[in-house]
């Protein structure tokens, strides 16, 4: 810490203008207008096109997106391995944009674990403390404690290559956490593990995060992983953050078509607003259908795109009454998935809608392939998205 303060003039300035005790706490990580450009074959390529966000102290924060969306580059700029072309990175209020990675108080868990192959487990974990010139007895105590937390006591003398993927993963975690970083950065740390181990490690990571109370920044392309573990998620696409919100919010109220498509299964429907009545915009959909969108953001004549989650839709043979969205279609596919059935329903305009119906005991709404059906859902489940 002292090194950071000594190394940057910005630190003194930040300390001078430190917020009063009653103002909101300083965020653990702040990115302000961060851009990363590469020169590839004489052309400027923007990997990150401008990100501004804050990550709070103690938060489990995920950067989620497909490969090439810039999430790893963003994390590497927080760690200090990439210099932002423009913008500022702040850790606990201190500008660290020009601070090298070895002087930043964050630690990283690499996708490949990046353990030192020529050192045993104990030496790997002690590496960071030794660089900080911590006293030998203190190192011994902290490494021992950390190995206990990750359940590797008794394997101190093992070499990384003598261990399983899951064990190596835990060594990497211990090696980073033992330094008590202000934030832990994890770059797809479970990517190389099989499904069972992955799920066990997800729970394990959550437990460790609660135990040590450190801010976790987690990079992943696995939406279910992000939904399970995170307090908040930034969904990234093509170098930009498409939505930053809690998992539930992201799932229920996707901000863009990309988010709706990337997180879970989603149906996209569009139409022109016909009229606005009693807090609902009514869209015309085909000759007989209607889509109700809650809220008063839309005017008659607007073109609106909405997303509807498959599990919110009900299938029925009769036209449903009341204040609900209703569209007609023909069942083109039925897939039995145990817990639920998945239906593909083709509308008159050619769009295909996915519907999940839970397999309850008394379920009578079992439509057959080729059957003409009505699909209906509540107005609050049509969520208008920006195009």
């Amino acid at each position: 810490m002292t090194e950071i303060q000594a190394g940057t003039e910005g630190a003194a300035g930040a300390a001078a203008t430190a917020p009063a005790p009653d103002s909101p706490p300083v965020p653990a990580i702040e990115l302000a207008g961060v851009v990363k450009e590469y020169l590839a074959h004489g052309e400027v390529v923007q990997a990150v096109k401008g990100i501004t966000m804050t990550i709070s102290e103690g938060e489990f924060f995920s950067l989620l997106g497909p490969s090439g969306c810039g999430k790893t580059t963003t994390m590497r700029m927080i760690a200090g391995f990439e210099d932002p072309s423009r913008g500022t990175v702040r850790l606990h209020g201190q500008d660290v944009t020009d601070v090298p990675p070895n002087k930043r108080d964050v630690n990283m868990v690499f996708q490949s674990y990046a353990l030192f192959p020529h050192m045993n487990v104990w030496e790997n974990v002690a590496f960071g403390l030794r660089r900080k010139k911590v006293a030998a007895a203190e190192i011994k105590r902290r490494v021992g404690e950390m190995l206990e937390i990750v359940d590797l006591t008794g394997r101190e003398k093992r070499r990384p290559r003598e261990m399983s993927g899951g064990q190596q993963q835990r060594v990497a975690l211990a090696r980073a956490l033992v330094n008590n970083p202000r934030a832990l950065l994890l770059d797809e740390p479970l990517g190389a593990l099989d499904l069972k181990l992955r799920q066990a490690m997800q729970i394990e990571l959550k437990r460790i995060q609660r135990e040590v109370g450190i801010t976790f920044v987690y990079v992943t392309h696995d939406q279910s992983e992000a939904l399970t573990m995170s307090d908040r998620i930034a969904v990234m696409n093509d170098g930009l953050v498409e939505q930053l919100a809690a998992p539930r919010e992201i799932y229920e109220r996707p901000a863009t078509a990309f988010v709706a498509g990337f997180i879970g299964t989603s149906n996209l429907l569009g139409g022109t607003v016909d009229r606005v009545a009693s807090g609902c915009a009514v869209l015309r959909a085909g000759d007989e259908g209607r889509i109700l969108v809650a809220g008063d953001a839309h005017r008659a004549g607007d073109d609106v795109t909405v997303t509807v989650r498959p599990e919110k839709i009900t299938i029925s043979a009769e036209e449903p009454g009341g204040e609900v969205s209703a569209v007609r279609g023909t069942v083109s596919e039925v897939v039995y998935l145990g817990l639920y059935n998945s239906y593909a329903v083709r509308l008159a305009d050619g769009a295909e809608i996915t519907v999940f119906q839970q397999n309850a005991l008394d379920s009578t709404s079992t439509a057959e392939r080729g059957e003409a059906v009505w699909l209906s859902w509540q107005p609050r489940h049509s969520y208008a998205i920006g195009s």
Partner: protein, 278 residues
Amino acid sequence: MSVRESAVAERAAGGPARPRTRLGDRLLKAYVWLVIAWLFLPIAVMVVFGFNDTRSKSNVTWQGFTLRWWTRLGDYPELTEAVFNSLRIALLATVITTVLGTLMGLALGRHRFRGQGATNLVLFAAIASPELVMGASLLSLFISTGVDTGFVTVVVAHVLFSLSFVAITVRARVIGLDRSVEEAARDLGASTWTTFWRVTFPMILPGVVSGALLAFALSIDDFVITQFTSGTVQTFPLWIWGATRNGIPPQVNIMGTLIFAVGVAIAVANSVTARRRT
């Protein structure tokens, strides 16, 4: 499954194919032993004739066992001096080559830079060009620049032709490195200097050591290029070449045996520690 059943099953499965594989196995084995014999027979002859109780100047027919030559190892002062010259040259050339070659290997394996392709080409050209050509061109270079040939020029020449081998071995090792391991060291608070010595260097060390061994082996027995560049300095191979006219004394066999034994010991030690390291 009972014992008899499994025996039957085994016969049914492997029965008809077996004689053919056996013949193939035997041929392969014979071939392997033939190659080993071909490689090691000359060495065995060298070692054995160090113990030959020869009376004449030539040492080509077996006369009986003796340890006499081992006690009279220093009978030819020029031979002893030539051996020490060779060792000095080889050690010095190895140290210089290893340092330079390791730096080259790191640069070539790690960075993209202007002239990289040309550097790679020169490295391979140095390996591919005949020693005769390299020796002759070095000599003409030394003559035209007025440099007196001797100990220094031999070392320079040896560094020159073994540099490629070290650079290429180290480069292969560097390319195989996971960059994130070094990033992890930086992330954990190590400066670039500490990262190199604590992480990068231990990881490329096997490549550096094999490069160094290769350089030493190339230098100690080089004849052609040394002949062109040595001036009046005698090295072990040069002295033997000179002695062939009068007959090679058994001391040469013993010196060769010793050098060979040390080389084998180092190579074995390297492979054992390399296995333990990674």
